[in-house]
Amino acid sequence: MIRVTNLSKIYQTGSIEVRALLNISLEVVTGEFVAIMGPSGSGKSTLMNVLGCLDRPTSGCYQLDNLAVSTLDDKELATIRNRKIGFVFQTFNLLGRTSAVANVEVPLMYGGVNRKARRQRALEALAKVGLSPRAFHKPNELSGGERQRVAIARAIVSNPAIILADEPTGALDTKSGTEVMAILEGLHQQGLTIIVVTHDREIANHTQRIYHFRDGEIQYIEEVKNRVIAVADRVS
């Protein structure tokens, strides 16, 4: 469960004050699949960074599964990122020199899981995104869609509480995008909390609820009436 209360993030660049987020309050219950939409500069990426524990709010409260995240230090934040949060980035952000399975193992390595268990869990996660046959390929030997699926496997391998996906289909063609959304849908059905940041209405239509952002504030909240359920036959 995510509960954000009166959250603000203000940057000071020289003498100019940039209000990236202003008094945001929202609540995402465990198992929900929501989207954050808005034009660039609306503060959605900043919110993503704060929710992902990569950044701290200037003021306000962020509660993640009964943990008051705003009070934690760097070390504890790193641990939260490792255990509770799975990131999916627009540009995949895989480590180029290592194989898919080694990429998926990285969070487990920092989580102190031993080599054998790590390899096994990473292969299981790759199986979940339908990439078992490509486990030992390097990212440059994979297609964009496959790379994003590796990234999703990496995001789920440590059994996080939430998946934060920042424009997960932004760099993909429609077909690959649909595949990725199908995987996210599957994870949602397994009970994971998923937050997708996007500016693409069609992607947002896959979710249950859309938060529309503008100028650092929530403009309105929209419950999605006719949800699109993505299905891709290749994916288990």
Partner: protein
């Protein structure tokens, strides 16, 4: 993240940039190998000097004018006489035997051959004191000295040059136009000692001291050799001889008594300084190599900013990144150090081919080189690693 993990990561990323890693390594290789080579030169020189000195004789002491003394520099002194030398021997109970060495030059003729020679006037103890072996015949005996017999002992080489396959013993030669009978030939080869004199050079001819005394018309002895009864009493003998000198010549005499130990110590000090300077020169190249490592690690941190951001997003702690980059630079230095040891050994062997000493590679210098290169890795790796650990994850992720 465990250390094994870090080492594997480090090897991976060094492999990813093979040429760059190899060039950085080269700096460390040169540094470590030059430290090892330089120290080996010093050690080899020390070994050579101390073995030369111990090869001079057994429990050897010698008395000669102190060439650092002002009066000696000006020539205002008189060498010891044979009588004074005999009195000294009586005053030093720890001394087993003494032999003077009077020196002059001359020409030796045999049939139509002639040689320029150095003539050493010694007594019957000389051979023992200087630990020189006799090849054939006999050495000068006490009676030869007492009676002033014109007998001579020559070197093995000279015997070959003059007599070829003929037995030299009993042959008559002319030295300074006087007839001498060859009574002995020294054993094979003995390396020339440059520390005191060229006593064992192959154009050296030994004759009874009394004969040289007659040639020169005086009995002033430039060098007096003595042998202590036992290795344990060498320093006693030294003190007794010094006291005897004071008794005979007064407290301000210009002579000094030296032993092999004092000689080894004296040269040891000089060589230690020399080794330190050489080692220092080697260390400078290691330092330069270390700066190269730091440079490349900084480049690597900048280049891998994105990777650092990803790792941070996935839960890497600052400590994990610090360790990753630190171990990378240590691995770089250790691999360089290992090659440096190999090349250092090669360098030392190569120098030993040209230098008159053997290659002396001490375990200590290897240990120091490895320790030093690890140290260099840490010192020059800390800053880049710290920089990596401190990067802001958001900025790092955004970096292109």
């Amino acid at each position: 993240m465990g250390f094994l993990e870090c080492f594997l990561l480090a090897f991976d990323s060094l492999r990813a940039n093979k040429l760059r890693s190899a060039l950085t390594l080269l700096g460390i290789v040169i540094g470590v190998s030059s430290v090892i080579t330089m120290v080996s030169i010093g050690e080899g020189a020390r070994y050579m000097v101390s073995s030369e000195i111990s090869g001079l004789g057994a429990n050897l002491l010698w008395i000669q004018a102190d060439y650092m003394n002002e009066e000696v520099k000006k020539g205002n002194f008189q060498n010891l006489t044979l009588e004074e030398a005999n009195r000294m021997a009586q005053l030093a109970p720890a001394v087993a035997a003494m032999s003077p060495q009077l020196m002059t030059g001359g020409q030796l003729r045999y049939q139509n051959k002639s040689e320029d020679i150095s003539i050493g006037g010694v007594n019957e103890h000389f051979l023992d004191i200087r630990a020189i072996g006799l090849g054939r015949g006999r050495f000068i005996a006490d009676l030869d000295v007492d009676l002033g017999r014109r007998v001579a002992v020559i070197s093995h080489r000279m015997a070959e040059r003059l007599f070829g396959s003929t037995d030299p013993i009993g042959q008559t030669v002319r030295i300074r136009d006087q007839q001498f009978v060859i009574i002995g030939v020294l054993e094979g080869e003995k390396s020339g000692m440059m520390v005191t004199d060229s006593t064992t050079g192959d154009n050296y001819v030994y004759v009874p001291v009394t004969v040289v005394q007659r040639m020169l018309g005086h009995s002033r002895v430039p060098v007096l050799f003595a042998q202590a009864r036992d290795p344990r009493v060498v320093s006693d003998a030294r003190q007794q001889l010094a006291r005897a000198l004071e008794l005979i010549r007064g407290p301000n005499h210009p002579f000094e008594v030296q032993s092999q130990d004092s000689m080894v110590e004296f040269f040891g000090t000089i060589i230690a300084v020399f080794t330190a300077i050489l080692g220092g020169i080697g260390s400078i190249s290691l330092l330069v190599g270390g700066i190269g490592v730091m440079n490349i690690m900084l480049v690597s941190v900048t280049e891998r900013t994105k990777e650092i951001g990803i790792r941070k997003a996935l839960g890497a702690q600052k400590g994990d990144l610090l360790r990753q980059f630190l171990i990378e630079s240590i691995v770089l230095c250790l691999v360089g150090g290992s090659f440096g040891i190999i090349f250092g050994q090669g360098g030392s062997q190569l120098i030993a081919v040209f230098a008159p000493w053997p290659a002396m590679i001490s375990l200590l210098s290897i240990g120091v080189a490895v320790g030093f290169s690890t140290f260099v890795g840490i010192v020059f790796g800390v800053y880049p690693a710290y920089k990596a650990a401190q990067l802001d994850p958001i900025d790092a992720l955004r970096y292109e």
